[in-house]
Amino acid sequence: MAMFLLLLIIGLTGLLAFILGPIKVLRNIISLIGAIGGLLYFVFKIRPGQAYALNIKIYNVHFGTGMSALSIFFGIILLGLFLIFLIASFHEDNDGAYYMFSFFSLLGALGVLFAKDLISFFFFFETMSLFSFLIVLKGNGETSHRSAFKYVMWSAFGAYAFLLGTFLKVNYTHSVMITDISYLGGNIKLWILILLLTPFMVKTALMPFHLWAPGAYTDSKDTYTVFLSGGLSKIGVFGYFIALFNVFSQIAVLYPWLLKVFAYIGAITASLAGIYAFMQDDAKKLLAYSSISQLGYVAVGFGVYSHFSVVAALFHALGHAVFESLLFLVVAGVYYRTKTHDLRKMGGLIKKMPLSFIGLLFGIIATSGIPPTIGFPSKWLLYEAIILKNDLFLVSLVFFASITAFLYSYKLIHSIFLGKLHKEHEHIKEAPFGYGFGIVVLLIPLFVLGTNPGIVVKPIDYIVRFYLKPDLAYNLTNMTTPLGHVNFPAIGITMTLLFTLSFIIYLIFGKSYRAAQEDNYTATEWIDKDFGLHYGGEFYGFMRKAFGKPLTWSFEKILNACLKVVSFLGEIARGFYMGDARVYLFYIILFFAIIVYIMGGKL
């Protein structure tokens, strides 16, 4: 019963937030109470293994909804992130409907975690994508309606594929519950798996299905992007786990090539998205592509399908939730103050927004997977797993992807915080409390889990151990795999020591000196005082020239091609109704004649 109570709490708070829409203060308090209540209730009341069978006898099928440990893991991530998003969102001016939609999208996401049968899975999955679509539609950008349209189309594409997969499964196994189908004959089970996987590939924006993600992330409200990219994409990862373990556990035996393909898609997504990322001049678009690329790693982790590669994938999913939302939160704070996302218009904000700078600094360190932070353990485990599988091409691809990660993170921090402060930004203050609180709260797990990952690896290992032979020895602070041993706090401390040492050396012996704007060779162009000679814009211009040509080709072209085919069919269908009533009458007579001719034999 606990699960329904939780969904009820969240649903009711959503409704209350809508009803109290105009009274801002009351609405904020109510939603805050709802979110915190939901989180606490979830942490204390929900236990793994609690199964609830709510049998709505609609189709003599009962919506068995139960709790697996994995759902708790993702549930906590979702509710935590939602709380952070909520606190930050109070600074933006949102109306009651916005909060209702966000609460209902959370409700949908939690419902997906609890669902034990495919139809209620679909029900909550559709609720989640419907209400997040409505929020993206309410977004502020002028292209937000185009990206909302793409978002709903892609998630519907995924949802209908899932529905087809469900009904194929039910047709062959006569049960709508999430049960194993690997015993089925023929390659129908392959089709069912691919169909069931599609919505999750769409949700985690894997390469062919990622077209909606940049638009949706950039055009939805800044704070909601934190929840959208950090929280809702985790449902995709949860879906991977369900599809690859609960629904089709013998996949490694029956279709190993599929897993290899899946891993390679993940790797290609990671690297290509990374390249796209550092091409962007809009901070949110950059982060959107970075989020896609990080999720690519998770797909690689699942693709490799060994025990600790899946652990790495789940851990990376958690890491992604932490550092990606941190980065989005910082950019949101910056936007709150400077009212722009354009990297070219920013610069030198380090003096004005020190906390955001620190937040972003550790965020990008985590994104590139450098030791003290949460990004490192999962990356390390991932590399170990791939090397163990001795698939060298995959390793080099993933390695290339993490190089791009480093490139776009540096561009981000450089363009926003370093360089020269623009004139109009002189007076701005630090990001308000909401963002600051979120940054601080997110920094804690960044370091704590970075240095002693055992806290999180224990529950994940407990989950994955059930399906794959465990070959990872670990305790709170260090891990040993067949290839090597690592002690995370040690590496963390050495990295920070090295970093501070090199910083001190730079300060003392550094040859750099502060030059005024005019003391500069400007090829006879007169640069007046406030023209920001800030190297923010064409940061990787030469990269774009080098990679530019192949990158202009995109999946959009395939989409437009099949759209053209459909509209051609539409033209034919439309042509039938040509407007002249006599022709309509002729259709009836002709139809009568044809039917009689076909049935002629028996007349």
Binding site: K57, L163, V566, A573, I588
Partner: protein, 486 residues
């Protein structure tokens, strides 16, 4: 107990008396339709408990069925009768808010409701032809009553096709009469085995065309988009919610009860699929939102006929329950869409997508109503449409027509494409703000609320639909309860 024949007698009495009331005072006629539909609703509801197993027999002219005409009301027809009265009542309340119309408009509307409830209740074949004529003449009259170019053109086209369609329906009835000797539906159903095969086939083709025109099957539905688009918004609501549902009832009654789901049903199966695909593809290309809704409702009718033919191939109660769920969802959803579209465009009858840009933002209540209608028709979770779509897919899966299921999902994607396009355009940019009266909004809110409430707790609707479906399935029970062992 109040005999349901009063539903028809009273509606007729009030329709005839409108001119007399008009002479008393100009303001009286608009109040007659709500009164009439309310009384009918009351009569029908009191009769729910009397309709036990099989059909309730109400005789006319004091003689037993095959001799005289009789009404045969089973749970299936009672459900449709109540649906017609409910939507009729809501629409008549909607008309109250509009400025004083010509009194004849209310007479036509009332006679339309009479025709629909007549078809739903009658147990006699020729009588259904007469009521079908009443329904068709009053509906193309209502369509043409818009009096502008589009309305007149739509009305004329509907009239032309409807005239030929109903004549062929009459020929079908006559052929059945000649081969069985009676005009009573139950009696014909009983004597069906004695009819030679080719007569059965030819008469089922005639019925296929006669009812196909009414139910908008593929080659016969060319009139539908023009009539829906031409008519005024409340009339298109009436077309989509009342008149097409009566067509579905008639198709179910004739093809399932009389023919026992044999002859014309596999033609209908392929026709219905083509209707659905052609209509949805044509809707994709529309720039005019009203014509898009027209094509979409033709597509939904194709879906309904598809479900009926699937039942005829592999019959079980669940498939028929889906048909009823789909009919209810389409009646309320599409009705809401047409009504809110009217107010969204401020009754300027200019329905271009570009002019609708931002209208949802400008008047949020109407935007919410239109969005509810669209989301319910598409089948989104919170709304009633979800359950009807899921049960549609399950029943097709049960008939294990897997390729059909995949095809339907593909076409649902197309449907989502053009609906999402409308929703997105509605809520972006700056639109004009229109003032709408309290009554129209409250009527639309009722439609929307029913969609949401039944979406969240579909159990009661499902039970009602299951009873009605069960009673339609028992063909022999229907025959024996009417003819009483004749």
């Amino acid at each position: 107990m109040v005999s349901p024949i009063l539903v028809i007698a009273l509606t007729l009495f009030l329709a005839f008396s409108i001119p007399l009331l008009h002479m008393l005072s100009k303001k009286l006629p608009p109040f007659v339709p709500p009164l009439a539909t309310l009384i009918n609703l009351w009569i029908l509801i009191t009769n729910i408990k009397h309709v036990g197993e099989g059909a309730m027999l109400i005789t006319t002219a004091g003689l037993k069925p095959p001799i005289a005409i009789n009404l045969a009301i089973d749970k299936f027809s009672l459900l449709f009768a109540i649906l017609i009265q409910v939507i009729g009542f809501l629409l008549s309340i909607y008309y109250l808010s509009q400025e004083r119309k010509d009194m004849r408009f209310y007479m036509l509307f009332l006679l339309n409701i009479l025709g629909a409830s007549g078809i739903v209740m009658t147990g006699d074949l020729f009588n259904s032809f007469v009521f079908l004529e009443i329904l068709e003449i009053s509906s193309f009259g209502l369509v043409a009553s818009g009096k502008d170019k589009k309305a007149l053109e739509g009305g004329f086209k509907y009239m032309m096709i409807g005239a030929i369609g109903s004549s062929l329906y009459l020929l079908g009835i006559i052929v059945l009469y000649l081969s069985t000797g009676t005009l009573n539906m139950a009696h014909i159903a009983k004597l069906m085995p004695s009819i030679p095969d080719s007569v059965k086939l030819f008469s089922s083709i005639l019925f296929l065309i006669g009812i196909g025109v009414e139910v908008e099957l593929f080659p016969l539905n060319a009139w539908a988009p023009d009539a829906y688009q031409g008519a005024m918004d409340e009339i298109s609501t009436q077309l989509s919610s009342i008149i097409s549902k009566t067509g579905i009832y008639l198709a179910a009654r004739i093809f399932l009860t009389i023919y026992g789901g044999l002859y014309a049903t596999n033609i209908i199966f392929y026709l219905a699929i083509t209707t659905f695909i052609v209509a949805e593809l044509a809707a994709l290309m529309q720039k005019n939102v009203k014509r898009m809704l027209a094509y979409s409702s033709v597509g939904q009718m194709g879906l309904l006929m598809l479900i009926l033919s699937v039942f005829a191939k592999r019959g079980d109660v669940f498939v028929l329950t889906t048909a009823i769920l789909l009919a209810l969802n389409h009646a309320f959803g599409k009705g809401l869409l047409f009504l809110s579209l009217g107010s969204l465009t401020g009754n300027t009858r200019n329905y271009d997508i570009e002019d609708l840009k931002g209208a949802g933002r400008a008047n949020p209540v109407l935007g919410f109503l239109f969005a509810t209608g669209v989301l319910s028709i598409i089948g989104m979770p919170i709304f009633f449409g979800f359950w009807s779509k899921i049960s549609l897919l399950i029943s097709i899966m049960k008939a294990n027509l897997m390729y059909l299921l995949a095809l339907l999902l593909l076409v649902f994607l197309v449907e989502l494409y053009y609906y999402a396009n409308v929703i997105v355009n509605l809520f972006k940019g700056e639109g004009k703000k229109y003032r709408i009266g309290v009554i129209p909004v409250s009527v639309m809110l009722l439609f929307a609320l029913s969609l949401i409430v039944f979406g969240l707790w579909p159990h009661p609707v499902f039970k009602i639909a299951q009873n009605a479906a069960a009673s339609l399935m028992e063909r022999s029970m229907y025959i024996s309860s009417i003819l009483g062992g004749m």
